[in-house]
Symmetry: C2
């Protein structure tokens, strides 16, 4: 494709994205295709000769688009959000055009130094200690793995890297911790049997006393307590573990404390929500995802550590072909995580934070919190809906319950209710289990969600519940 053709299609695609932003609200949030529908539209073998972009773009619109679930739809209340924003898309375009692979300082000094700076910005925005350092990872799953690897190495005097994960190290998290903790424990060679899931209180927050008991019991049995993952804003219910109490146990017991604030971290930009991270100065690492609630295209996960030296020592390798004359005086982020190659992801964060300003991010988050509380008030006021967890953030856990059905019937009925509401195509909610109950989750966090969308979700829920004879 020659450059003038690129220019022409580029303009066309920008216009398409602009139209998509405007009209995504009219598309069904969740794709309606059936398994196999897309695959059968794509030839099983690649073309021998090049095809014109017109035809590829037509196929994109006719074959691919109907198979997309629209994360940027204002009726997105599922999982957690993964916001993009016009500023972020523009930055992604430049990043793609530059096509730089930013593994070491020399392979793009601006990428390395901008990453350092925007991570400092983010650190300040959510109130982390000033001497912490940050690095962009792809996802919170990866960041949590990095944290447990550092913890493993610190616990073994960097011996596991050398000799293998031979020692009986134990990791602790609440029963409500994200599945990525179990995944990381397995990958790091620690073993799922050595992950203790600590009970939670009625607010689904880890009980520090139970953590303390479990640590003491493991130590007594000759095992080696190694790390705790505290969750600030759990995936199921938005529960917040008591960081300060957990942190004090960790300091006393010399345990690595990693904070998983993947979703909730963004809320700490609000002074009135800063309490979420109270005690974070006792932690060793924290992850939160600007790609969730901070307007920055996936992927962009912010991983912060108290001591970057420990992170680097966990990962560094020094092959001759990666050495440069500047290694002693610059940051080479290749040693701050698993992949060697790195995209220039700092650019989109820089564009987003400058475009919105810190105050712009605050306004957005504040409005989402207000809308979630509004939805909560409707659930509370309704005789046949009930809340199933406190609303700490912008996530509401609830279900239909008339008080006359058993738990099995309620689960089946709420599942049908969720499916009926999602089938309207106007909103998209997902579920979880809380105390074994099928629980509907409504997360307000999509950039363009307004009160009318939340109201529509509620109207659909109540009307579909009536239709189901609930």
């Amino acid at each position: 494709m020659d450059i003038e053709l690129f220019r022409r299609h580029g303009h066309e695609f920008v216009d398409w994205v602009a139209e998509y932003f405007k009209s995504v609200e009219n598309l069904p949030v969740m794709s309606r295709v059936q398994p196999g529908d897309i695959r059968k539209k794509i030839p099983p073998a690649p073309p021998e000769n090049g095809e014109p972009m017109e035809r590829i773009f037509e196929d994109f619109k006719s074959h691919i688009l109907p198979g997309m679930t629209h994360w940027q739809h204002p009726g997105w209340f599922a999982y957690f959000p993964a916001n993009n924003s016009p500023a972020s898309v523009l930055a992604e375009l430049l990043t793609a055009g530059l096509g730089a692979q930013c593994m070491v300082w020399q392979t793009s000094p601006a990428a390395a130094e901008l990453e350092e700076t925007v991570m400092d910005w983010l650190r300040g925005m959510i109130g982390l200690p000033e001497d912490w350092a940050g690095v962009i990872q792809d996802t919170a799953s990866t960041a949590t793995l990095c944290a447990l690897l550092s913890a493993r190495e610190v616990s073994t005097g960097f011996g596991a890297n050398r000799r293998g994960a031979r020692d009986p190290l134990v990791v602790y998290a609440s029963t409500e911790a994200h599945s990525s903790v179990e995944k990381a424990v397995k990958i790091a060679g620690l073993g799922a049997e050595n992950l203790r899931l600590i009970p939670v209180d009625e607010h689904f927050a880890l009980i520090p006393g139970r953590l303390e008991e479990a640590v003491a019991e493991d130590a007594r049995r000759g095992l080696r307590p190694c790390a705790v993952v505290a969750t600030v804003g759990s995936t199921s219910s938005g529960a917040v573990d008591p960081l300060r109490a957990v942190g004090e146990i960790c300091r006393r017991r010399s345990l690595w404390l990693h904070v998983d604030a993947a979703y909730a971290g963004t809320a700490a930009v609000l002074p009135e929500m800063r309490g979420l991270l109270d005690g974070v100065e006792l932690a060793d690492s924290l992850v939160f995802n600007p790609h969730k609630w901070m307007l920055t295209n996936f992927d962009c996960s912010a991983y912060f550590v108290r001591d970057p030296g420990l992170l680097i020592r966990t990962f560094e390798v020094h092959p001759e072909y990666l050495k440069t004359g500047r290694d002693a005086v610059v940051k080479n982020y290749r040693d701050w995580g698993i992949p060697l190659g790195r995209r220039f992801r700092a650019l989109k964060l820089w564009f987003v934070i400058r475009t919105y300003g810190v105050e712009g991010v605050r306004s957005l988050v504040r409005e989402h919190l207000r809308l979630a509380r509004l939805f909560r008030s409707w659930v509370e006021a309704h005789p046949r809906f009930e809340l199933l967890a406190p609303v700490n953030l912008s996530l509401v856990c609830f279900r239909w319950n008339d008080g006359r059905k058993n738990e099995l019937e309620l689960s089946a009925l709420n599942k049908r209710l969720m499916e009926a509401v999602n089938d309207t195509g106007k909103v998209f909610l997902t579920h979880t289990a809380l105390n074994g109950r099928f629980t509907l989750r409504l997360v307000v966090g999509q950039r363009t969600t307004e009160e009318r969308h939340v109201r529509l979700a509620w109207e659909l829920l109540t009307s579909e519940a009536e239709k189901l004879g609930a």
Copy 2:
């Protein structure tokens, strides 16, 4: 930013990228900034209030651009290439605009099914067995880690995931294998001491007999041989391990065989280069990077496995909040790797393969191979330059040597030569060590590199060598 503003800046940025494609040749390949230069141009704190895109874009051009090293410059001969292409950039724009997070089928069926299809395309394009399955990873480092984790689990009956990496598993690779193997061995909890680096022959290829001896010796000592990483196209010299011989040892000994063809895999699109992968049917997994030599924006690493069930069993976790009604009948790629969240990376591969066609990719690779051989012929014909490795692919390893200096002097002189050539800003080469010698590497692989650029590199090398009094 409102949508009309997005549209306006989008057009402006597309024009800028088009101009960048045209004019990147006039920029110095390697950034000339000094450590700290960029950082001091960016305020240490984020703005409270939003700024106009005009100002951000101005800062991008004045502060960031001079700090970029230009991977898309036709004078790029360093490391390996990381090609983008107009088609790939266009697809990245759509991916960013859609902003979908494709962790499970339901969160974008088109992303899941297109990934399955384009990975089938790639599998056929490089001649892998038809029953293998592929998944997109971020980098080859991550894919190699996935391979070693699967190997670990298969070796232990999935016991390491449960109990931890207690068993004394041993991994084998050549002394020329990429540093990501050591990194993966550490991350997986196997321990760097349990990585055996097998000697190579005069072509820097693993010696199968030495592998066999090492495996036997470890077994005798009560250790458990687990996996071999064979390299097809090593980073230092493009060396190719003998896959068939290594594969036969692996089958006999029940060892997992992972093939790291990160750079060279693309060359297997050529019938005349298919021999590179002779014996691959004996392997269990292979990685190659379309983001290196196949015109697809970083990141896009293609990981193929003989048995996807083993990969899934290595990684799967089943929290309630990720379950969907379709899990039994669809592919959920979240279980095929480390991160839960996933970008829609299949789209750019689809755009690239369709735009160029398989024949278009072949022409490009064939031309790069021709140019590398041409450069080799110049080195061979020059009385004071020498080849330091066979040219199997598009990578030439060489140095200046008049036969009258000792090794220390030669290393210092060739390092100065590399710096002098890079300082011209017209080309960019990096180095490695082969048999302890400082070795210049010239890789032909950038999409826009023509014969005149390779010729210029040679002219600069010979003239700078003369200037250095070499």
